[in-house]
Amino acid sequence: MARLFSWKTISSQQLLKDKWIDVRADVCEKPDGSIIEPFYVYRFPDYACALAITKDGKVILERMYRHGLGITGVELPGGCVDAADASPAVAIARELREETGYHFETIEYLGHISPNPTTNTNLMHMFLAKGGEFDPLQPLDVEEDVETFLVTMDELVNLLQTQQFAQSMQVTALFFALQKLGRIIVQ
């Protein structure tokens, strides 16, 4: 029988908060009455990313510097779901336009996961975008300092197998997308 696990929040103290980060230390009471103090919680906005494929079957990837770990790795296009975005689907269409300059014929929802339920409050929404066409008139978001490049589907799988993707949660999104495309099958 499933036990009850829920914790009660007794108090909450903000430790860090700015444009990029929001960390608080909570005091929590467990079902057996014991107290956990402190428990650190990271509050992030929801996040969306996509495996984005062009009309001629190429995959759009990005190189980006990540200062926490100090690495420049390969990533899927994506970004935060802003308050102004009506839905995660609207957010990913906007991020794809602003980061890559491509518009897509279809953007299919692959579901959501928690980036890290041990510490984070937010969700990651995963998408498969197809039929991408480059729009030379689309203004790009230069603030983000992102370098985009195109690879074939085989090169994508090779990048995945050789651990070139920087973020573990994007590895998860990639596997879901490859499964949707029939590029991972049950034996």
Partner: protein, 185 residues
């Protein structure tokens, strides 16, 4: 390829206690912009293990996750102690959390948990031929239930997105491919 790295102009710790190390960096971007402060939270590396028994069942743990107020099915794992071999940590966490033992362990891959804000890396392992030790009991204080899934049930749950931990799902797929249970056609 352009050099996209930031230059660190200065760094200082704003929190430095047992469970929480946070520093404020002053950073210069390639185009000369300054970001100050840029907070980095220094978390320890951790390991997660896909544990497969002799009769092809997967051993997982069910636990409560306070930040999302949900109870999740997750891979056994935990923090790698300072100086500890990640594979040894994986076997130790498996034993402590599930009571299963095995020496048949292989490395799958490692990737950052959140490279934008954190410095830690998740290490994934596949353990085969796991069996209950009979003597090690899962730590009661950890509030963990040990659960067993058949091969078919696990693959179905994975494909239907029933596991919530985004860092770990990539490791689960990698293990399924290593085992030959899933394949690139």
């Amino acid at each position: 390829m352009r050099d996209l790295r930031w230059k660190v102009l200065s760094t200082s710790y704003v929190y430095e206690n047992k469970w929480f190390h946070a520093r404020a960096d002053s950073c210069e971007l390639p185009d000369g912009r300054i970001i100050e402060p840029y907070f980095v939270v220094e978390l320890p590396d951790f390991c997660n293990t896909i544990v497969v028994t002799k009769d092809e069942h997967i051993i997982m743990v069910r636990q409560y996750r306070y930040p999302i107020d949900q109870t999740t099915y997750e891979l056994p794992g935990g923090v790698i102690e300072k100086g500890e071999d990640p594979a040894i940590a994986a076997l130790r966490e498996m034993r402590e959390e599930t009571g299963y033992i095995s020496n048949d362990i292989e490395f799958l891959y490692k990737a950052a948990a959140n490279p934008a804000l954190n410095i830690n890396t998740a290490h994934f392992y596949l353990v085969r031929n796991a069996e209950p030790s009979g003597k090690d009991q899962p730590d009661e204080l950890e509030d963990i239930d040990v659960v067993r899934f058949s091969k078919t049930e696990f693959i179905r749950m994975l494909q239907e997105n029933k596991f919530q931990h985004g860092v770990q799902i990539g490791g689960m797929y990698a293990a399924m491919i290593r085992l030959g249970w899933l394949n690139y056609p």
